[in-house]
Symmetry: C2
Subunit: 387 residues, 2 copies
């Protein structure tokens, strides 16, 4: 690997304007749980330059509601940059002066890749609820084809938070020779029962919306917005810590007087309404169902009678695990479970539990010790690989 160890600028910068591209895969993809896609599109973005021997590529895997737009802006007027701009850019933790960073929208997504909103070639109607169940393994398979397309035989690192970390782990299992490092942030080798239960409730909110029509809302010209709203509000609370909510909103009143008869609205209620509303306008309900199901079903140890060490024995990558002290949705214990199994399997693994008040959401936030740890690891990785 020939990485440039001298950063081209000293203070972190932004990747600037970016444009998504589309990989059209015309080879059929057989899916893990049956069925196939006769073809598919993956929308992706890249930041930085692929070096001559294509050894400096980093794949970013997104979480439940993420997409390919991980950094930069599509237009100068964009109010917000990509979802992980805090980590990706020249001089940032995932340094685009050194690395060629690839981010995509997963299969089944609703931001341009083939998914429930796409036209089903078998019917010429949108897939809607007929889109097949996709799993983390299917995502990895489709991502491997994108890597082939881009000429990347081996990633320097595959990085993901939450559901994204599950993809990084699956890569290490399915393609042990195609990555140097897997970075699993606020992730888990499987969901807890409580997590499945929260996903179930979110799905119930969507499927019981009168506008859901068994997933055929598009044909009815409506959207199950209320269900999506409730699902998002619920998800959102579980991504934040009790403490973070208390610090930010406390018992502040948005409107109404608690001493009078007027209707009370707490600030936290108004905030959740805003979050739910914004999400319901941008996210597809069938995609939400499909993504949460992929989360539920992920359990690579299942085929080894729950033996996670046997899972890590299949891998050869170095692992970095990062978890957050107040994350109760993917608690540090889940990363410890993985780290212990990786150690037992003789793998090279580091696990840092980062003190952060922000719960599961920490992985998207500029928590200094977290950003520093990630950056230091990738910097060392570059040096070790160069040595």
């Amino acid at each position: 690997m020939s990485l440039n160890n001298e950063p081209q600028q000293t203070s972190p910068g932004d990747v600037g304007l970016v444009q998504p591209a589309t990989f059209a895969c015309e080879q059929p993809l057989a899916l893990q749980r049956g069925g196939e896609l006769t073809r598919f599109d993956l929308v992706y973005e890249t930041y930085g330059e692929l070096n001559a021997d294509a050894s400096n590529a980093i794949l970013i895997c997104h979480a439940l509601s993420g997409n390919h737009h991980a950094a930069g802006r599509h237009a100068e007027s964009d109010r917000k940059p990509g979802w992980w701009d805090v980590c990706i850019g020249p001089g940032k933790a995932i340094d685009t002066n050194r690395f060629y960073v690839l981010a995509l929208n997963n299969l089944g997504g609703c931001d341009g890749s083939t998914g429930p909103l796409s036209v089903n070639p078998a019917t010429n109607d949108v897939f809607g609820p007929d889109f097949p169940t996709v799993t983390v393994r299917d995502w990895v398979e489709s991502q491997a084809r994108l890597a082939d397309h881009l000429g990347i035989k081996r990633f320097a690192a595959i990085i993901g938070g939450s559901l994204g970390g599950m993809q990084a782990l699956q890569w290490a299992i399915d393609y042990p020779d195609r990555l140097d490092s897997a970075v699993l942030i606020a992730s888990s080798a499987r969901l807890t029962t409580q997590n499945i239960a929260f996903n179930k409730i979110a799905r119930s909110a969507i499927t019981s919306d009168a506008n859901f029509h068994n997933g055929r809302y598009a044909e009815h010209g409506v959207l199950p917005e209320q269900g999506l709203r409730v699902a998002r509000m619920l998800g959102h609370i579980t991504y934040l810590s009790d403490h973070a909510l208390a610090e930010r909103f406390g018992r502040e009143i948005k409107s109404g007087d608690p001493d009078q008869g007027s209707e009370i609205e707490f600030q936290v209620e108004s905030y959740l309404d805003y979050q739910g509303e914004a999400f319901s306008q941008r996210f597809d309900a069938n995609t939400y169902l499909l993504m949460t199901r992929a989360l539920d079903l992920f359990d690579p140890a299942a085929e080894y009678d729950g033996d996670l060490t046997a899972v890590f024995a299949q891998t050869r990558a170095r692992f970095l695990m990062l978890s957050f002290s107040t994350d109760w949705r993917f608690s540090p214990q889940r990363s410890t479970d993985m780290s212990n199994a990786a150690i037992s399997a003789g793998r090279d693994v580091s696990h840092a539990i980062i003190d952060s008040p922000h719960g599961h959401d920490s992985f998207l936030l500029p928590v200094p010790r977290y950003i520093d740890a990630l950056g230091a690891y990738l910097n060392r990785l570059a040096q070790v690989t160069n040595a």
Copy 2:
């Protein structure tokens, strides 16, 4: 107080068949947040005998979805006894050989007391969403009238779990001379932001149900069952610990094969569906909104700039606080906050944190150390009071 210190039977028994009674209060009740009820009914049950000086009465205050049927059965064929039968009966922790136990359905409830399902005398239609906002203080006021009606000037103890504990605390504040002891189980002096957020989502699920019709579902001959279902599922998860869910359901599959294409249903999903369905058939949506709002609004320290010690300075009762190690909805810290404030205010207070894997639900379950602690306290109370 002349309590019988010799239990009439040595092994705990049941209260047997019980019948509810109705207290019809024809005096208007002015409500804390404005408006009034020109009259109201409270449905209640009693277990045990009131002694000659009416000094052995214990009031049981119910939580969010509870009612007056706390112990015994209404018919031999009843599949289940009252909701706190595990604690109430001859020889049980709340010993009906010694105590006269009173349980009621709160104002605004849906089990017979005046509430949204009752006829509004002003319109001759059901109140529905026009039922006024009631607060914990209003409940205490209505309960005090019931006590007057029954000839109870002073309770030996007022006991409640969760929202019920808030009522016991409010009693101690509003009527310091009308109770010897307040027993606050898995309770809090106010909800956390996270708790308010969970309540908000449950309400949103209900109010966004297409059958809700701004609360006038009765006029439309429908029920917002789907919304109630989601609300209950959500509540239910937060009452259980992560650990309890994992122990009970793990990742067990109810139907479908994870290795095949068939639709998967996890056991925990089926369980939640059952819980949601049962609840949606028995509980009124407007009552659910009203009860969760009463929870949100409870904050006796607010009028003292958040100083909980100033609140306890208003009280004279002895306090027993019981909390449960895995309760993350009303964590032990909330009881510690109250206990510390009570100590600072010079009150007689004991706080036991009970090791229990069952989360908030522990207060309804036969957790031996909990039942023993409650029984021992009430036994000592009886002896001290007799001394």
